[in-house]
C-alpha cells in the first residue's frame, strides 16, 4: 500500500496543511509519496522531502501547472493513480476542486474532509455543519480523500526523502487563469494560526473591524477571522470567513468579538482549545461554547484588552 499526498503550495513554499495531511497518511501506511505539481517549484519539493514519514517526493515542474488549475492537476494525478492505494489532499480550495474530479475519472466515490481514520478503508467525516459525525467504509480499491487539516497534528521536518522528477503531462487546455488577487498579510495563515481574533456583525463597519481587531491581533500574533455576516457586510475579505462553508480553524485561542454564534460559524471554530467571546448580548449563542465570556460593549472592551496586552498587564 502506497499513499500519495498532494502538496499544497504557492510554487515557492509548502503550505502548513500539507504537514497535517502527511500526518493523516501515516495512519494509513508507511509508504508515503508527496506530489508537488507546479512551476519552478523545486524549493517546495525540497521542503516536502523534509517531512517526517515521507519516502519520496514526486515533482512535476511545468508552466502549465503554475496556476494549479483543477483540470491539469487532475490529469496528472490520474496518470499516476494506479501506483497508489490512497490519494490524499488537504481540504483546501485546490483539494476540494480537484479531488472529486480525480475520483470521478477513476470511478471512485471520494470521501470529503475526513477528521478521523479507523482503518485503511474506514473514515470519520463531519456532516450537517459538524453536528453529525459519520463513519463510512469505502468499497473502492483506491481511496480518494480530502483531509481536514485541523484534525491531524502536523508532522515534524526531520526527514530526508528522495526527490524524483516525473512527467508533468500536457496542458489539457480547458481553462485558464486570467487574474488572481491574494490578500497579502504579515499575519499567520488563518488555517494554521495559534491565535485567531474573529469579528462579527457587531463591529458595525469595515473601519471598526480594522481599527479594533488589527491592533489586538498584532499584540497576540494572531490571524484575523470573521463570521459570514461580517464578510457579507463587507467588513472583511472572503478568505477570512470561518464556518461551515468557509475556513475550519482549531487554534489554541479563538477570540470571537461581536459574533453571535450561528451554528454555521460554530462549525468552523468549535474545536478550538480555548474560546473567548465578547458580546454585549448575553443571550448570544456564542456564549454556549465559550470558555470565557465577557458580556460587554466591544467598543470599550477590545481597546482595553489591546492596551492591557500592550502594557504587559
Amino acid at each position: 500500500m502506497t499513499i500519495l499526498v498532494i502538496a499544497e503550495h504557492d510554487n515557492a513554499s509548502l503550505k502548513a496543511s500539507t504537514f497535517n495531511t502527511v500526518a493523516a497518511a501515516i495512519n494509513l501506511g508507511s509508504d508515503i509519496h508527496v506530489l508537488v505539481a507546479g512551476s519552478d517549484c523545486a524549493s517546495v519539493a525540497t521542503a516536502a522531502a523534509r517531512l517526517d514519514g515521507v519516502q519520496k517526493v514526486l515533482i512535476a515542474d511545468a508552466p502549465h501547472h503554475e496556476a494549479q488549475l483543477a483540470e491539469n492537476l487532475t490529469a496528472l494525478v490520474v496518470s499516476i493513480a494506479s501506483d497508489y492505494s490512497h490519494i490524499l489532499a488537504p481540504a483546501s480550495s485546490l483539494g476540494k476542486s480537484a479531488l472529486p474530479r480525480v475520483a470521478a475519472l477513476l470511478d471512485v466515490a471520494p470521501i470529503s474532509e475526513i477528521v478521523g481514520i479507523e482503518s485503511p478503508d474506514t473514515f470519520i467525516r463531519p456532516t450537517y455543519a459538524g453536528n453529525v459525525l459519520v463513519t463510512v467504509r469505502s468499497a473502492d480499491v483506491l481511496k480518494v480523500i480530502t483531509v481536514r487539516a485541523t484534525a491531524f497534528n502536523a508532522v515534524d521536518t526531520s526527514g530526508s526523502a528522495a526527490i524524483e522528477a516525473i512527467s508533468a503531462g500536457t496542458d489539457v487546455g480547458l481553462s485558464s487563469l486570467i487574474g488572481r488577487e491574494l490578500n497579502k498579510s504579515e499575519r499567520p495563515e488563518l488555517g494554521g494560526a495559534k491565535v485567531v481574533v474573529s469579528g462579527g456583525r457587531g463591529l458595525g463597519s469595515s473601519e471598526d473591524y480594522q481599527r479594533l481587531l488589527e491592533p489586538l491581533a498584532d499584540q497576540l500574533g494572531a490571524a484575523l477571522g470573521a463570521s459570514r455576516a461580517a464578510v457579507d457586510a463587507g467588513y472583511a475579505p472572503n478568505d477570512c470567513q470561518v464556518g461551515q462553508t468557509g475556513k475550519i480553524v482549531a487554534p489554541q485561542l479563538y477570540i470571537a468579538i461581536g459574533v453571535s454564534g450561528a451554528i454555521q460559524h460554530l462549525a468552523g471554530m468549535k474545536d478550538s482549545k480555548v474560546i473567548v467571546a465578547i458580546n454585549k448580548d448575553s443571550e448570544a449563542p456564542i456564549f454556549q461554547v465559550a470558555d470565557y465570556g465577557l458580556v460587554a460593549d466591544l467598543f470599550d472592551a477590545v481597546p482595553m484588552l489591546t492596551d492591557a496586552l500592550h502594557s504587559g498587564n
Binding site: 472529486p100 470529503s112 459538524g130 481553462s175 457579507d232 482549545k273 454556549q288 465559550a290 470565557y292 492591557a308
Partner: protein, 249 residues
C-alpha cells in the same frame, strides 16, 4: 443556450439536526425540508443569465423520490422554465448523482451547468466537480461572480487566500459560493405559476448508469458537545484567566 441547474432537497438550514433514537441516521420525520441554499443561488444565477439574454432556457433537475418535486417547484417558482425529476428510491451518493446528471446534460444538450458548491446536509461538495470530469468539461468552483459572453465564461472564484478569475469556453460547469448573488423571494403569483410549469419524471433505471452506493455508513454519532464556560466580570479578569488558568497567552 440551455442552462441545467441540479437542486437537492435538504433539511432546512435553520432546523436543529437530531439523530434517530437508534442512531442509524438523522431524523427526517416531520422536519422542515428546503432547497439546498447553494442550489437556490445557482437557480438565481441561471435565471439572471436568462433575463440578461445569455440563456434560452433554465432547467432544474433533482434526483430522488417523489418528494423532490417540491424542491423542483421551488426552483420553478424562482424562475426556472421547466424541471426534470430523476426518480429513484435508491440511497444516492454523489458519484451516482453525477452519473445521472451527466445523462440528463447530454440528453438536454445543455451547455452550462450551475450547481451549489456543496449540499448542507452531507457537506461533501463533490457532485459539480465529478459531473464536469465525467463530461470532460472545464469547471470553476466557488464562484462569486459570473460573466458570460460569446461562448466564454469568466468566473471569479473564492479561494483560500483571496480570489481568482478563470476563463473557460463553454460548455462548462460552475459551482456557486455564498456571495454570488442574493436569491429573490418567490412571489405568490410565481409560486402559483410554478405549479403549471412542465415537470418531467425520468426513471433513473432508464438512464443506464450504475448508481449503487460505494460507501457504507457504519456509524452516525453526535460530536462531543462543548460545555459553556464562565462569564468573566471584566477585561482584567479575562486576561488573568487566559494567562493563569488556560495558559494560552
Amino acid at each position: 443556450m440551455k442552462i441545467l441547474v441540479p437542486v437537492k432537497r435538504v433539511i432546512d438550514p435553520n432546523v436543529k439536526v437530531r439523530l434517530k433514537n437508534d442512531g442509524s441516521g438523522v431524523d427526517l420525520d416531520n422536519v422542515k425540508m428546503s432547497i439546498n441554499p447553494f442550489d437556490e443561488i445557482a437557480v438565481e444565477e441561471a435565471v439572471r443569465l436568462k433575463e440578461a439574454g445569455e440563456a434560452s432556457e433554465v432547467i432544474a433537475v433533482s434526483c430522488g423520490g417523489h418528494v423532490c418535486q417540491e424542491t423542483l417547484r421551488s426552483a420553478l417558482a424562482l424562475g426556472a422554465d421547466r424541471a426534470i425529476q430523476v426518480e429513484t428510491d435508491c440511497d444516492l451518493q454523489p458519484l451516482a448523482v453525477a452519473k445521472l446528471l451527466k445523462a440528463v446534460v447530454i440528453s438536454e444538450s445543455a451547455s452550462l451547468v450551475i450547481c451549489g458548491k456543496q449540499a448542507i446536509d452531507d457537506d461533501a461538495g463533490q457532485v459539480g466537480q465529478m459531473l464536469a470530469a465525467l463530461l470532460g468539461w472545464p469547471q470553476a468552483t466557488f464562484a462569486s461572480n459570473v460573466a458570460i459572453s460569446e461562448g466564454l465564461a469568466k468566473v471569479m472564484r473564492e479561494i483560500d487566500d483571496g480570489v481568482e478569475t478563470l476563463e473557460m469556453r463553454l460548455p462548462a460547469l460552475i459551482t456557486t459560493d455564498l456571495r454570488l448573488n442574493e436569491p429573490r423571494y418567490a412571489s405568490l403569483p410565481n409560486i402559483m405559476k410554478a405549479k403549471k410549469k412542465p415537470l418531467e419524471v425520468v426513471a433513473a433505471a432508464d438512464l443506464g448508469v450504475d448508481i449503487s452506493p460505494r460507501l457504507t455508513v457504519l456509524k452516525v454519532t453526535e460530536p462531543a458537545t462543548r460545555k459553556a464556560g464562565i462569564l468573566v466580570e471584566d477585561v482584567t479578569q479575562l486576561l488573568d484567566k487566559l494567562k493563569n488558568e488556560a495558559k494560552v497567552i
